[in-house]
Amino acid sequence: MARRGAQRRAKASGLKYAVLGLLVEQPSYGYSLISQLTEVVGDAYRLKDSAVYVAIDTLKADGYVREVERQPVADSKRTQRVMYAITPEGREAVAMWLSGPAGGSPEPARSELVRRLAFSGREHAASLLEAIDEGEMECVELIAAATRRQHALAGRSAGEWEAEVERLVHGYGISYLQALLDWHRDARAVVTRFAAEANAGEAG
């Protein structure tokens, strides 16, 4: 349980600054922050709504954001719509973050497959290959989504700071997915080889 909580916090801290960064511009509602984040960061990262709310709660607890408005909403599961604004402390935190060292590593995606691989014997090759195929197709679909998003921005003027940064942001996601795609192909080659050897052994 404790480990799970720590993981959740670690994930939220990455998002925290992204949320703060958006609030630097103007106060915003929770759900509109989610759609803005998806717009900025792209599909490759699979943002969860709940993670954004966790980030907002953390930011509130840290004193980096405050509620400025609360409206009742009739047609939603959340009974109230809350508008958040950044505090002076929050602005300072963003400035520190932007000038600080870049750290962190991409989460080991497909971790379920990696964990299964780690605990599988070669007798599980067939089911592993299926999982590898599935994982590869998921990469391809995410590449399709990220490419589409990047293309949607292509009409804007290339060469300008905003356009170039957006290209880089989406390019990061695409490069990351390409690395995952390569990993799946590598995994397939290895598992296929051992599966073939096992079959040859059985036949002989």
Binding site: E141, T147, R148, G155, S157, R167, R185
Partner: protein, 239 residues
Amino acid sequence: MLLSFEAASKRYRRHAREIVAVDRLTFDLDVGESLCVLGSARSGKTTLLRLAAGVEIPDAGTVSFVGRATSAMSRRERENLFRHEIGCVWQAAGPDHVEVVQFVSWPVLSAGKSVRAGAELAREKLSLVEADDFMDARIGDLSPSERMRVCLAQALVRSPRLLIADEPSKTLDPIDRRRIVDLLRSVTGEAGIALLMTAGDATGALPHAQLGSLDRGQLRISQPPVADVLPFQPRAAHG
């Protein structure tokens, strides 16, 4: 169905070893559809395209163009296919000393039309691929991106129903890469031309296309949500 692969395989013999270049490929491509195949070096990308273009025929299985198997066609029929129905953009990109308009008009001239008609059509297609600035240059004086656009224009003068492009973004920097990919989309989308292309990695992927992954000769195609295969919508203006 415009192009149809049914369990198509192609093998090569290299010294004593037999190499399976592509293994039981099965997919369909219809008018106005596009498929972009992602594959690393030696994954079988070029063999797949050569089979689709009818330059080669499969050892097993079939490749059909509008319902006719390429293996059932005579050499002449396949050459005609190539001349009238399929436009190709290959990696090797034209002789350096030839002038752009002349190079682009070759397919028209070889189909028996006049030099003037050829040049006219060539200029029209060059304009379509935004090559107005270097129409009168020689191939050897062009940048990789310009060369690619010239080759694309040459593929288009045949008024093909299918366009085949072999890693069109390979040697380009990221900005030119996106420009070429956008151009491929617009020239095929507006004319309803089917597009089959390859890319070495995800940075060269075609937006709004079906994406496939080719690994050691085996192709896996993702089933996109319906929104992905909607007809192409041209951009209002080129910015």
